[in-house]
Each structure stands twice: as structure tokens, then as C-alpha cells.
């Protein structure tokens, strides 16, 4: 592995052997939850109806071992508190057996499987997957394999599609809210088929498009979760959880590759230097009593460990904003400490150069060595040092297998060890569900949004961006309804999209404009009752709370065609001389006067027509 392979401008991902896969979890917008009859509404914490608490026990496998990830979870023994609502029931409380698997949810998942050309499982078994971080009140998540072996239009293979229940929302450490627990999720897992960051992002975009095309998935922050699995040839598989924004995906992949390459370079350097790790920490609490750093000064204990030959490597950046020291710090934090100090970044944080010298001296550290310090209670320090040594050991291997969480700009932090094979056993309270050929064949495939965009462009002449906006819009169905009712496409588009966006940008709240009202308005415009110029002002009035009729009045008084004729006749009479002088070219200027007076409450075309007739009459009288 040479530094050349990772040209920061354009790394050769193929040569690095980048392999990536995505796992997407999307909430479904069904009437009821997956295993109970509660609505799938998300609530405010303030609306909670009550609270209870439970202890969750890690169960031993048949071989007497605890699950690896579960073991780390148990390092801090906690009890969990749950918030209930008038929209949650005894099933969420783990006080009642589950209801049968939600049919509506299963149909949505089967439809998506069908779109991807997958094979449905003949009989679906619901499983219990052990989860003891508190996010499931029963200590397990119910999950079922629904379909296998499909392919996306972009070519990426899909391994499996599952249906499962959403977990409870963590409010704070060990407090969870039960409104989210049990909402149906579709889980789509691709094959580890992608080899460039762009592949990964394109695949995620395509899956997102397919999901949205069903019209049956929830929208908004937190309703979709994207996890990415990445490895490079000499690295290790890392799972990055919770990549919310589609646009950041390729950057996340890029940075992870960078991180893995950097760790491998550090490894090489450590081996070349003959580096090693001192296993016995040194108590330097007394030494730090006079420290310029409040943390070191006031700590119950300060422990330090010497890493031989690590100088400059702990502080080396492996990813924008992240160093090897950041990784060690993540591991240490599992013990409850706030972080660590290391001599690659000192003097800093109040610690003076003299202090550094003294600390290094006390640990007999040379220029090639790095010293790590933790400051907290005795128990937490000892725990943290063990973790730091553990992570330092891993530096000799290169890239540890981990589950990581995404940070704001696309870098990542350690979350927990990659879990072992999921502990799953049958959920015997839920009967298996047969998926017959008939049922699968009867499922209707909706139009894909990409096709809708193409259709709108072609049929209505919208430019691609506008077509995309409408196709993805909440108001799409209303838009199509208006078109079917005979409203002109460009008008309908403005009413349901462009104009709303403009108003929104001006700070007007357009969300409460009902589709029904907009359709009524469009229909009135189509019939000539209202001028199309009045669209914007009427929408603004309605957004401000006025009813449709009121809005019409306030924008302009109703001007009937007869009224219009009167107005036009009057204005034409007043300007008779001017008209006789200019002939037909007087129409333009006079039109302006008329429009000013009727203030847009009549269609300009109609005004024009009435005016021309009036002007003709004047000219013919000559």
C-alpha cells in the first residue's frame, strides 16, 4: 500500500479494493403499527401519558457466551425508562402479546420487492432479534425476511428485503419514547456490490426514488436511515450508521476510505519503528495537582500510559477533524470519562510545556514516545486505560471492525464493536404468513417517479427540474386531479409548485393551503370567473387565513363581464380622441388603464377582447 494509491484529488478506488454495501431502513406510512393496532403517529414528549421502567437482562447463548456487542453494552448496568402516550398500548409496553403481522405493511414491502424483481419467501417467519440497549421494551426486535435476490435498475444487486418493527426513540441516555416503537419498517440490504463513492450515492438515490414512488412511505427527518458498509482490501469491514443526507453519502465513503488508508499507513509506521505499548498505567494524580488544566487539577485520579514509538502518530489526522487520538478517546468514553489528553497535542488546554516535560519524565518517555492521560474517578480511569490500550493494540492490526456513527461533515466516530451473528429465534406468538403466487402477482406496481418526471417533461413541456419538483411533491396527486379536470398544465404547475415555492421564499406559510381550495381556485380561473393574474394574491390571502370567497373579495371586487363592458366603454369614451388618433395601436396603452382599474380581477385576455371590440366600434363610427 503506497501513498500514491490515495491521491487525495482522485483516489484509485478500484486499486484500493473498495467494496461497499448499503442497508436502508424506511418507515412505512400505514394505518396501524406492525404488530398492534396503534396509529403510527410521532408525538411530542410533553404529550406523554405516563412512564414506567424495566431492567433488561442479557441472555446467554447456548454456548454460555454473551453477544459481543451486548457485552459492551452491559459494561454500564442501567435500567430503562419508557414514556407512554394515548396512542400507544400494552403491546408497546411488552404487557400483551403482539397482534398478527400488519397486512397493509406487508403489501407495501412485497410491492417494493416486486419492483426490484425479487423472489418472495413462500412463508414468512417472524423472528425475535435480541437487542438490549433499551430501544425495544421486550429486549428483542421482531423482524421477518420477506424477499431475496433482486436487482436495481442501476445494476446494484439487492440481497434481501425484510419487514421489521421500528425501535423506540432515545430521548436521553436510558429514557425512551414509545410512540415510535412498532412503526413498520422496510429494510433493504444491497449486496456489497459498489466500488466507488458515486456508485454508493447513486444506489441510495435510486432506492430512495423507488420508495417514494410507492407513495406509502413516511417523509421527514428520521423516517429513513441509511447505513453503509465499507471496506478496502487491506482494511476491514466498517459499518457506518445513520447517514441521513443523500448528498453526503459519497463524501462519507470517500472519508472512510481515507481513514482506513491512513490507519494502514500508521500501522506500517508503527511496525517500522518497532513500537510497543506499556501495559501498566502510572498514577500521576499528585503530579497534576498543580496543573494549569482544571480537569487534571481537580480529578480524583489521573492515570497515564506510555505508548512507545507512537509520537506524532496519535496526533496524525486520519480523516478531516479526526486523529488516531480521537479513536482512542471514543473507546475511553465508553467508561464514562469525558475524553483524554495526549502529548502529541500538548502543551494545550491549560497544560504547560513544563508540565508536559514533567509528565513525560515521570513516565520515562522519550522523544519517540507518546503519553496518554485520563482524568476522572479511580474506577473510570482504570476502565478507560484498558480501553485505550485495547485500541492502541488494534493500531498494529490496522483497521478494527467497528460500527461507527456519522459526524456532521462526513467523518465518523466509533460507536461499538461490530456485532456477532444476530441472536435470532422464532417469534412464536406471530403465525407464519403464506405469500401465495396469486397475492404477489396481484400487486400493482406504481409508476416510478423517474418515469413520472420524464412523462411530465414530455407531455407538459416542463423543464426537468420543475418536472422533478412536482413529481416528488406532496401535492402531486392534486396536481394530476386538476389536469384531469381541464386546468392548463402550466397554470396547475404554478398553483401547486412554483408559486408556492416563491411565496414560501418570501416567508409566507403555504403548508395550510388545502389542495381542495387550490383546485376550486383553479377551476374558477379556468371558467373565467377570476383572472389568472390573481392567482398569487389570492393564495397569499388564503395563506393568511382567509376563506376562498373572502380572498376573492379582498384581492379585487368581482367584476362581471357586463361590469367590464361598462368600465371599458367609459374609459374608451374618455379617451376617444386618443383612440381616433392612434387607431388600433391605442389598444396597448388603453389596456393598461383598464387593467389598473379592474385590478386583475378579470382575465387579461377577456379584457383585451372586450377592449378591442369597444375600440373597433369607436373607429368604425368615424
Amino acid at each position: 500500500m503506497t501513498g500514491d494509491t490515495l491521491n487525495p484529488k482522485d483516489p484509485d478506488f478500484k486499486a484500493l479494493g473498495l467494496i461497499a454495501g448499503i442497508e436502508i431502513h424506511q418507515q412505512l406510512n400505514t394505518e396501524e403499527k406492525l404488530f398492534c393496532r396503534c396509529p403510527t403517529s410521532i408525538r411530542e414528549i410533553g404529550e406523554s401519558s405516563g412512564t414506567f421502567f424495566r431492567y433488561l437482562r442479557a441472555t446467554k447463548s447456548e454456548l454460555g457466551e454473551l453477544d459481543r456487542a451486548a457485552e459492551e453494552e452491559m459494561m454500564r448496568i442501567r435500567k430503562f425508562q419508557y414514556l407512554t402516550y394515548d396512542t400507544t398500548c400494552l403491546v408497546e409496553n411488552d404487557e400483551e402479546p403482539p397482534a398478527p403481522l400488519n397486512d397493509e405493511a406487508l403489501d407495501i414491502v412485497l410491492t417494493i420487492a416486486k419492483i426490484c424483481g425479487m423472489t418472495p419467501v413462500p412463508e414468512i417467519s417472524t423472528m425475535r432479534k435480541l437487542v438490549i440497549d433499551g430501544s425495544n421494551t421486550s429486549g428483542f426486535q421482531r423482524t421477518s425476511l420477506v424477499a431475496l435476490n433482486g436487482k436495481l435498475p442501476c445494476g446494484t444487486a439487492i440481497d434481501t428485503i425484510c419487514i421489521e418493527e421500528e425501535a423506540a426513540q432515545r430521548i436521553e441516555d436510558t429514557i425512551f419514547s414509545l410512540d415510535r416503537l412498532g412503526i413498520p419498517l422496510i429494510e433493504i440490504t444491497t449486496a456489497p456490490d459498489m466500488h466507488t463513492p458515486e456508485d454508493v450515492q447513486d444506489t441510495a438515490a435510486e432506492i430512495g426514488m423507488i420508495l417514494r414512488s410507492t407513495g406509502r412511505v413516511k417523509r421527514g427527518l428520521g423516517t429513513i436511515r441509511q447505513d453503509i458498509n465499507i471496506s478496502i482490501r487491506e482494511g476491514a469491514r466498517v459499518e457506518i450508521k445513520g447517514v441521513q443526507e443523500l448528498d453526503l453519502i459519497s463524501e462519507v465513503v470517500r472519508r472512510e476510505v481515507q481513514r482506513q488508508v491512513s490507519l494502514l499507513e500508521i500501522r506500517k509506521e508503527l511496525l517500522a519503528r518497532g513500537a510497543s505499548i506499556e501495559k501498566d498505567p502510572v498514577d500521576i494524580t499528585e503530579l497534576c495537582r498543580g496543573s494549569g488544566s482544571k480537569i487534571l487539577k481537580k480529578a480524583g485520579m489521573v492515570l497515564a500510559i506510555r505508548l512507545n514509538g507512537f509520537a506524532g502518530l496519535v496526533g496524525r489526522e486520519i480523516q478531516p477533524g479526526r486523529r488516531l487520538g480521537s479513536e482512542m478517546s471514543d473507546y475511553a468514553k465508553k467508561c464514562g470519562v469525558g475524553g483524554l489528553f495526549h502529548t502529541d497535542e500538548l502543551p494545550a488546554y491549560g497544560v504547560t510545556a513544563d508540565e508536559v516535560k514533567a509528565i513525560k519524565g515521570s513516565l520515562l518517555a522519550g522523544d519517540n514516545d507518546c503519553v496518554i492521560l485520563v482524568a476522572d474517578t479511580q474506577e473510570k480511569c482504570r476502565c478507560a486505560i484498558k480501553q485505550i490500550i485495547s485500541r492502541a493494540d488494534m493500531a498494529f492490526i490496522g483497521v478494527p471492525k467497528e460500527t461507527r456513527k456519522m459526524l456532521e461533515e462526513g467523518s465518523t466516530a466509533y460507536m461499538r464493536p461490530l456485532p456477532g451473528a444476530a441472536r435470532m429465534y422464532p417469534e412464536t406468538d406471530v403465525f407464519p404468513v403464506r405469500v401465495t403466487k396469486e397475492r404477489f402477482e396481484a400487486l400493482k406496481i406504481p409508476e416510478m417517479i423517474n418515469d413520472t418526471i420524464a412523462r411530465y417533461s414530455k407531455t407538459f413541456g416542463f423543464d426537468r427540474e420543475v418536472a422533478r419538483q412536482i413529481a416528488y411533491s406532496d401535492r402531486r396527486d392534486a396536481f394530476e386531479e386538476a389536469i384531469t379536470a381541464g386546468v392548463k398544465p402550466t397554470l396547475a404547475e404554478r398553483a401547486f409548485n412554483s408559486t408556492l415555492r416563491e411565496l414560501s421564499r418570501e416567508g409566507i406559510i403555504v403548508d395550510n393551503l388545502s389542495n381542495e381550495d387550490i383546485i376550486s381556485l383553479l377551476s374558477d380561473i379556468s371558467r373565467g370567473k377570476i383572472a389568472k393574474e390573481a392567482l398569487s394574491p389570492i393564495l397569499i390571502a388564503m395563506a393568511g387565513g382567509k376563506q376562498l370567497k373572502e380572498a376573492y373579495e379582498s384581492v379585487a371586487p368581482q367584476v362581471s363581464v357586463d361590469d367590464l363592458k361598462e368600465i371599458v366603454d367609459r374609459i374608451v369614451r374618455e379617451r376617444a380622441e386618443f383612440i381616433k388618433e392612434r387607431g388600433n395601436s391605442a389598444t396597448g396603452p388603453v389596456m393598461g388603464v383598464v387593467m389598473k382599474e379592474v385590478r386583475g380581477s378579470v382575465d387579461g385576455k377577456i379584457v383585451n377582447q372586450v377592449l378591442r371590440e369597444a375600440i373597433s366600434r369607436v373607429l368604425n363610427d368615424q
Binding site: F52, F53, R54, Y55, L56, R57, A58, T59, K60, S61, E62, L63, G64, K79, L90, N93, D94, E95, E96, P97, T119, V121, P122, E123, I124, S125, M127, R128, K129, L130, I132, T137, S138, G139, F140, T143, S144, L145, L148, N149, T160, C162, A421, A422, R423, M424, Y425, P426, T428, P432, R434
Partner: protein
């Protein structure tokens, strides 16, 4: 080798519309096989789409025997089938109940520091399949354990009929030590199960200063406290909640805090050593429990002809339809004793207020005070089993023997 019949554990290949995957064969029914894939998921797939690959050797599980501290007091665990401990075989997904002391201690490690345990497996049944004959076996087993020196007995039991059994043992065994019935509402295989907490609290109760037969279960949906209910005043009042069991018409005997395991006994608790050990295990099984409803056909009573005793669960203060009364009178004349309790569950029967009630009394029906219907049935079986005549039977039924009946209705 082309194997058509598969055994649990066989490695098989599944063919599904051109897609192949491998897994472990679990079982089959009606031509549909259950296979566990390498991912851990089970799928149901037609048996004829499977191809046998291999039959792996059975891995013998190394079960560590848990060593017990012989300095601690001795507590017996008598299992009738309630699942307090279970083990999951992830290979096949099977969940098996565990009854040996070493398995229970393995599942609930905290127990080993409280006492030394001797486990007796009486039977392994769903509690709806309990019978009076098994109550008798249970009574003898409890008696034997106490005779052999146990300082307390824990009885694990399915929750459906646990109250019946607790009442039965209350009458059949006079115990100087705690006899604690315990079960779990949520299956023991799940991390959220109430088995651990209930088990630990039961152990604490069995070591306390208590000296009677009780039922111990959760006090609320939270894991903070268990309630100790007198075995003759408790009823399962919810199909599924952890706190389904409630003491009716009385105060609970006490509580056990969790995780501190502090036992708090109320003033009415019978204390350790107050009673002398004795067993009265004869019962008259031929007794019935009838729940009256409007329009019930008196002809139904013929099905109960020849029964030694009937508990009528009447409406309100203790009533049944007037057209029932003549049949009842006939049966009493034929030798069946009738006692009246109320569907209200709470409150005292009084047949002296309304005509129907007075007619029932004239017919020979005896008021059952404030006995719970199920407890009244068990008590009647026991009292008749002791061989008393009708007058003595009536007197004993209306006397408080082991806390099953309140002479006064407290406010």
C-alpha cells in the same frame, strides 16, 4: 446421497425460483419446511425444494454445574411447569424450560448468593391442565420438603390457574415456613421477562419471617416491587400484564422491593413458626362451580347430578334466577351441598335482603360470605374431603380457616 426425510440440524440447500441459499433444516408441516438461513432468519419453503447437504455432529453443550454455598439456608424449588428459567438453542430456535437447580441458578445468578437450593420437578404442564389430583401430589411434595428441613418452599407454576393451586395448598398444608407460588407473565426467554425479578423476590420472601402460603408477582408494570398475596385471596385479573394478580377484598400480605430485596410484611401476615407443620391432603373432587347468567336453563343442573358440592357464583348479593330454585332444592335433598358466592368478586354475599335470596336460603343454599368463587370451590373440595357431615361442612365453610374469609368487611 439423496435424502428425502430431513432431521433437525441437517444442512440443506434451498432452491427458490433460481435463487439458491443454504441453511439448517428445522422442521416441516403440511409440505412446508422451516429452514434457518446463515443470516439467522427462518423461512418457510416447500419441502420438495430442499436438497440435503450434510448432517453435522451434535455439539455437546458444556453445562457448568453451579456450585452452591452450603452455609446459606436451604430453600426448595418445586416446579409444576411455570417457566422461571429457559434456554434458547439458537441453532434451531427451540426454547426449552429449565427445571434443574443448576439451570435455574444459571438463569438467575443472583439466587446463589441468597440461599442453597434443592429443585424438585413435580411435573411439567401448562397450568390449564392442572387437576385436583396434582394439587394433592403438590401438597405432599411441599410437605416433604419442609419435613426434610427446607426453610422455605418456592413453587413455580403457570399463571393461569396458580391461584387455584395456591388456595389448594393453603388448605392442604399447614406450614410454619413460607410457601411462595411464583410464575412469569412474560416468557423467560426474553430479556424483559419478569422471571428474574419474580424469582429473586420469591427467594427473598421464602427466606423472610413469613409463615404461610402466598402468591408473589409484580406490583405494577415497572420493575420496582413485587406483591405478596395471601394464597386464598388472590386472583388473576388481567390476561397478560405483569401485575395481573391482585388481592381482592383484603390487603396484600406484604411486598418485596427490587433490587434491594427488602421484604415488608403487613400486620396481617402469618409469621414463621406460627403454624405447626401438618398435611390434610384428602379432597372431594366431585364438586362443581357454576357461573349463573340471565336465562340460564335450570335443566343444565342435571349435568351436575350426583356431585357432592356446588359453588353457585350468583349475581349481585348472591342471586340466581327464581326458576333455578326448585331444581336446587331437589339436588340438596339428594345430598348435594350448595354454597353461594358472587360474580362481583368484591363484597359479601347476603341472601337475606331480597326475595330470591331468602328463597334460596329456604331451599338450603348457604351464604359463602366474601369467598372468591375459585377459592370457595377449592375450600369446598377440601372440607368435604375431610369427611364432615353437612352441618359441620356448612359451619367450616363459613369459618375463616386460613385467611380465605373475612368476618368483617373493612372500609
Amino acid at each position: 446421497m439423496n435424502k428425502q426425510e430431513f432431521e433437525t440440524g441437517d444442512q440443506v440447500r434451498c432452491s427458490l425460483d433460481g435463487c439458491q441459499c443454504e441453511g439448517t433444516y428445522i422442521t416441516a408441516r403440511d409440505g412446508m419446511a422451516t429452514v434457518k438461513l446463515t443470516s439467522g432468519y427462518n423461512i418457510g419453503i416447500p419441502s420438495d425444494s430442499l436438497t440435503w447437504l450434510s448432517t453435522p455432529e451434535q455439539v455437546q453443550m458444556d453445562i457448568q454445574d453451579v456450585s452452591q454455598n452450603t452455609d446459606l439456608p436451604l430453600v426448595s424449588i418445586v416446579s409444576t411447569g411455570g417457566t422461571i428459567a429457559s434456554r434458547i438453542d439458537y441453532r434451531t430456535g427451540a426454547v426449552t424450560s429449565q427445571f434443574r437447580a443448576t439451570d435455574i441458578l444459571s438463569a438467575i445468578p443472583g439466587l446463589a448468593s441468597l440461599a442453597q437450593f434443592r429443585a424438585v420437578q413435580l411435573c411439567n404442564i401448562l397450568s390449564e391442565n392442572m387437576t385436583p389430583a396434582i394439587w394433592q401430589k403438590l401438597a405432599r411434595a411441599v410437605y416433604d420438603e419442609i419435613s426434610a428441613g427446607s426453610g422455605g418452599v418456592i413453587v413455580t407454576h403457570g399463571t393461569d390457574t396458580m391461584a387455584f393451586s395456591a388456595a389448594a395448598i393453603s388448605f392442604m398444608v399447614r406450614s410454619p415456613v413460607p410457601v411462595v407460588f411464583v410464575g412469569s407473565q412474560r416468557s423467560a426467554d426474553r430479556p424483559s421477562s419478569d422471571n428474574v425479578m419474580n424469582g429473586m423476590c420469591a427467594a427473598a420472601a421464602s427466606l423472610s419471617e413469613l409463615g404461610e402460603v402466598v402468591v408473589l408477582m409484580h406490583a405494577s408494570t415497572s420493575d420496582d416491587k413485587c406483591v405478596i398475596h395471601r394464597g386464598t385471596r388472590v386472583r388473576k385479573m388481567h390476561t397478560s400484564r405483569r401485575d395481573a394478580f391482585r388481592t381482592i377484598g383484603s390487603d396484600p400480605v406484604g411486598t418485596v422491593d427490587y433490587p434491594s430485596l427488602n421484604v415488608n410484611l403487613g400486620p396481617s401476615a402469618v409469621k414463621r413458626g406460627e403454624r405447626d407443620l401438618a398435611i390434610f391432603d384428602k379432597i372431594e373432587e366431585h364438586c362443581g362451580l357454576i357461573w349463573y347468567y340471565p336465562g340460564m336453563d335450570p335443566a343444565i343442573l342435571s349435568a351436575w347430578k350426583g356431585y357432592k358440592g356446588i359453588i353457585l357464583t350468583g349475581t349481585g348479593l348472591g342471586h340466581v334466577g327464581t326458576d333455578f330454585i326448585s331444581r336446587i332444592k331437589e339436588m340438596i335433598a339428594d345430598g348435594t351441598v350448595f354454597f353461594m358466592v358472587s360474580q362481583c368478586l368484591n363484597g359479601r354475599v347476603c341472601d337475606r335482603v331480597y326475595d330470591t335470596g331468602r328463597d334460596l336460603l329456604s331451599a338450603g343454599v348457604i351464604e359463602g360470605e366474601d369467598l372468591l368463587p375459585e377459592v370457595a370451590l377449592v375450600k369446598l373440595m377440601w372440607v368435604l374431603g375431610q369427611g364432615y357431615g353437612p352441618d359441620e361442612t356448612a359451619r367450616l365453610m363459613r369459618e375463616n380457616l386460613v385467611g380465605e374469609l373475612n368476618r368483617r368487611s373493612r372500609v
